[in-house]
C-alpha cells in the first residue's frame, strides 16, 4: 500500500499481514477446541456442525427431486417419500437455517464488530453449541432409527394419534435444540447492551449488529412457545392429555396457532441475519454509507415485531375464523413495508456507488433480486382469496425457497466469502468463487422458478406422484430436478475451495476490501483477545470514501489503515507471500 509510508504504518501493516499468534494457533489439540470459550472458535465449531446438517438436508432434497423426475412414484413408496421430505424440512429448518448465520458469522463477528473481547457469557456460548449437538444427535438418531413422516410442521391429529414413527424423539431433539437458540440470543442481547467499545454508540453500530439484535429478540420471545408446543404434542401422544384432540376436549387448530406463533417469526430468525450480512456487503463493496441507516436499523426491529403478528396466514384454510383471517392477512401485508425499506435502501446505496463484482457482492446482488421475488410472492399468499387457490401447492414451496435459499443461504455464502479472510487468514480463489456464485444462481432459479408455475397449475406439495397426462408438469419437474443438480454442484465448489484455501490460499491482509468495521482493524486471523488495545470509535458507521477519492487521499481514517488494499491494488501485494 503506497499511500501510507510511515514506518509505524508499515510495521502495523506487517503485523496485520503476518500475525504470529492468533486464535487458531494459540492452542493446539482437540481438547483446546472442545473446551474453548473463545467466541471465534465456537463460531468455527458451529460452522462445521451446521455444514454437516446442511449436507444431510441436501441429500434428502436430492432424493425428493429425483423422485419427482418422473410422474409415477417409482423411486420410493409414498410412505418413504413422506419421511424424506420431513427429514429434509426438519434438518434444514431447525438445524441449518435457524442457527446458521447467528451461530457462525454472528458468534464470530458480534464481539469483534462492537470492539469487545468476547461475548458476555463465553461458557454459555459453548454450552449452546453442546445443546445444539445433543439436540441434533437426538433428531438425527430419530431419522436413522426409522424416521418421521409428519412433515416438519408436526400437524396434529396425524402426529399425535396416527403416525407410528419417531415423532417424540425427533420432537425431543428440536425441543432441546431450542435452548441453544435461546442462549445464543440472550448472549447477543447482553453483549450488545453492555460490551460496546468506547464511542460505539447505538447508531454507530454496524447494521449486522442491529439485525442480530432483532433476531435475538425473536429467538428469546418465540422459541419457548415452540418448545412448549412440542412438549404438549409429546404429552398428548404419550399420555393422551387432551390439548389438541377434540375427543379429549382439545382443538387441533390450537396446535397450528401455537406452532406458527414461533415458526413464522422463525422465518425472520432465518432471514434477518442474512439482511444484516447484505447490509455490510453492500456498503463495503459499493464504498458508500448505507442509505437511510436508521431506517434500515429500525426496519429490522419492525420485522421482528410484525413477524409475531402474522402467523394466522398459515391457517387460512384450516377452519380459522374468516374474521381472524382478515386481520392476519392485513398485518401480513404490513410486513412487506420494512422488508421493502431494506431492499429500496440497498438499491439506493448502490446508486452512484463504486460497484464491485467481488464474490460477496455477487451474492448480495442475487439476494436482493431473489428476496424481492420471494417477498412479493409472499404477498400473493397473504391475500385471503388467492391463498385458497395456491395453498399447500408448489407455489408455496417455491415462495419460501426463494426466501430461504435465495435469501438466507445466499447471504450466508456471501458472508462466508466476505469474512473468510478474517476467519482463516487466507483469501479464497476469486475466480472460482465468482464461477460458483454464478452456477448457484443459475441452478437455484432453474430449480425453483418452475415450481411457481407448477404450483399455480395445481401441483400439491408433499406428493410423490403427479398425473402423467399433464405433459407440462413433467417438463417443469425435469427442469427443477436439472436445476437442483446444478445447484448441488454449485454448492460443492465453495466447499472444495474453502478447504483448499485454508492451506494454499493467498495470505489475507488485515483488511482486504478495505472496510470500516472494527473487525477489520485487527490482524487476520485475529488474536484470541481480538484487539491488542480496546478500540475507541470516533467515526460513524460506514464512513466510506469512493474509489477515486481513496486513490488520491488514501482510504481515510476509518478505512482501517492496517494492510488496507482496494481490489484495484490487489495485485501489488501478492508477490509478498512468504
Amino acid at each position: 500500500m503506497s499511500t501510507q509510508t510511515t514506518p509505524e504504518a508499515r510495521a502495523q501493516e506487517w503485523r496485520g499481514r503476518f500475525p504470529t499468534v492468533n486464535y487458531l494457533n494459540a492452542d493446539y489439540g482437540i481438547k483446546s477446541w472442545l473446551l474453548t470459550k473463545d467466541h471465534k472458535r465456537i463460531g468455527i465449531l458451529y460452522l462445521i456442525s451446521v455444514t454437516f446438517f446442511f449436507a444431510i438436508g441436501g441429500a434428502y432434497a436430492a432424493a425428493i427431486r429425483l423422485e419427482l423426475l418422473t410422474p409415477l412414484g417409482d423411486l420410493m413408496q409414498s410412505h418413504t417419500y413422506n419421511k424424506v421430505f420431513t427429514h429434509h424440512g426438519i434438518m434444514m429448518v431447525f438445524f441449518f437455517l435457524i442457527p446458521s448465520i447467528p451461530t457462525t458469522l454472528g458468534n464470530f463477528l458480534v464481539p469483534m464488530m462492537i470492539g469487545a473481547k468476547d461475548l458476555a457469557f463465553p461458557r454459555i456460548n459453548l454450552l449452546s453449541w453442546y445443546i445444539y449437538m445433543v439436540g441434533g444427535a437426538l433428531t438425527f438418531a430419530a431419522l436413522l432409527f426409522g424416521g418421521v413422516d409428519t412433515g416438519w410442521t408436526f400437524y396434529v391429529p396425524y402426529s399425535t394419534n396416527f403416525s407410528n414413527t419417531y415423532v417424540t424423539l425427533a420432537g425431543l431433539g428440536i425441543f432441546i435444540n431450542g435452548f441453544s437458540s435461546i442462549l445464543t440470543g440472550l448472549n447477543f442481547i447482553v453483549t450488545v447492551h453492555t460490551m460496546r467499545a468506547p464511542g460505539m454508540t447505538w447508531f454507530r453500530l454496524p447494521l449486522f449488529i442491529w439485525s442480530h439484535y432483532a433476531t435475538s429478540l425473536v429467538m428469546i420471545l418465540g422459541t419457548p412457545v415452540i418448545a412448549i408446543t412440542i412438549l404438549l404434542l409429546a404429552l398428548e401422544r404419550v399420555a393422551h392429555v387432551g390439548i389438541f384432540d377434540p375427543a379429549l376436549g382439545g382443538d387441533p387448530v390450537l396446535f397450528q396457532h401455537m406452532f406458527w406463533f414461533y415458526s413464522h417469526p422463525a422465518v425472520y430468525i432465518m432471514v434477518l441475519p442474512g439482511m444484516g450480512v447484505i447490509s455490510e456487503i453492500v456498503a463495503t463493496h459499493t464504498r458508500k454509507p448505507i442509505f437511510g441507516y436508521s431506517f434500515v436499523a429500525f426496519s429490522s426491529l419492525a420485522i421482528a415485531v410484525f413477524g409475531f403478528l402474522v402467523w394466522g396466514h398459515h391457517l387460512f384454510v384450516s377452519s380459522q375464523s374468516v374474521y381472524a383471517g382478515m386481520i392476519f392477512s392485513l398485518i401480513s401485508f404490513v410486513v412487506a413495508i420494512p422488508s421493502a425499506v431494506k431492499v429500496f435502501n440497498w438499491t439506493a446505496t448502490m446508486y452512484k456507488g463504486s460497484l464491485s463484482y467481488d464474490t460477496p457482492m455477487l451474492y448480495a446482488y442475487a439476494f436482493i433480486g431473489l428476496f424481492t421475488i420471494g417477498g412479493m410472492t409472499g404477498l400473493f399468499l397473504a391475500a385471503l382469496g388467492l391463498d385458497i387457490h395456491v395453498h399447500d401447492t408448489y407455489f408455496v414451496v417455491a415462495h419460501f425457497h426463494y426466501v430461504m435459499v435465495g435469501g438466507q443461504v445466499l447471504a450466508f455464502l456471501g458472508g462466508l466469502h466476505n469474512w473468510w479472510p478474517k476467519m482463516t487468514g487466507r483469501m479464497y480463489p476469486e475466480g472460482w468463487a465468482r464461477f460458483a456464485a454464478l452456477v448457484i444462481f443459475v441452478g437455484f432459479n432453474l430449480t425453483f422458478f418452475p415450481q411457481f408455475l407448477l404450483g399455480y397449475m395445481g401441483m400439491p406439495r408433499r406428493y410423490h406422484a403427479y398425473p402423467p397426462g399433464e405433459p407440462m408438469w413433467q417438463v417443469l419437474h425435469v427442469m427443477s430436478t436439472g436445476g437442483a443438480s446444478i445447484l448441488g454442484i454449485g454448492l460443492l465448489i465453495p466447499g472444495v475451495y474453502f478447504i483448499w484455501s485454508m492451506r494454499y490460499g493467498r495470505f489475507a491482509p488485515a483488511n482486504p476490501w478495505p472496510a470500516t468495521g472494527l473487525e477489520w482493524r485487527t490482524p487476520s486471523p485475529p488474536p484470541t483477545e481480538n484487539f491488542a488495545v480496546t478500540p475507541v470509535v470516533t467515526w460513524e458507521a460506514y464512513e466510506y470514501r469512493p474509489v477515486e477519492e481513496m486513490e488520491v487521499v488514501g482510504p481515510g481514517a476509518p478505512d482501517a489503515p492496517a494492510g488496507g488494499q482496494h481490489p484495484a491494488n490487489r495485485g501489488v501485494e501478492t508477490e509478498e507471500q512468504p
Binding site: 420471545l221 412457545v225 377434540p246 382443538d251 387448530v253 390450537l254 396457532h257 401455537m258 406463533f261 409475531f308 403478528l309 402467523w311 394466522g312 391457517l315 384454510v317 377452519s319 380459522q320 375464523s321 374468516v322 374474521y323 381472524a324 386481520i327 392476519f328
Partner: protein, 104 residues
Amino acid sequence: MSEHIVPRSTYYLVFGALIVLTAVTVAAANFDFGPMNDVVAMTIAVTKMMLVLLFFMHVRYSSRLIWVIVASMFFWLIILLLLTLTDYASRDWFGANVGGIMSR
C-alpha cells in the same frame, strides 16, 4: 450485578404460599363454578406465577430495565392469547361455523 440478600424466611413463606395455592387449585377443581371455572383457575395460576417471578426470580429487587423486559414478555404473551382469541371468538359469527369443523 447487584446482589440483593433476601432473608430465608421470605423464601419459606413464598414456598408455603405456593403449596397452599396448589392445594387450592386441586380443591377448586372439585367445584363447578360454571363460566367462572377458567377465571378461578387462571387467578390462582397467575398469583402463583407472580410469586415465583417477584421473589424467586428476584424481579422485585431488580432494576427498571429488568421490569421493562419482563413487561415486554407479558406483552408478547398477550399477543399470543389475543390474536389466537380473535379466531376462537369470531369463528361462529356466520352462525353455521363456515368451513369449520369445530363448533365448541
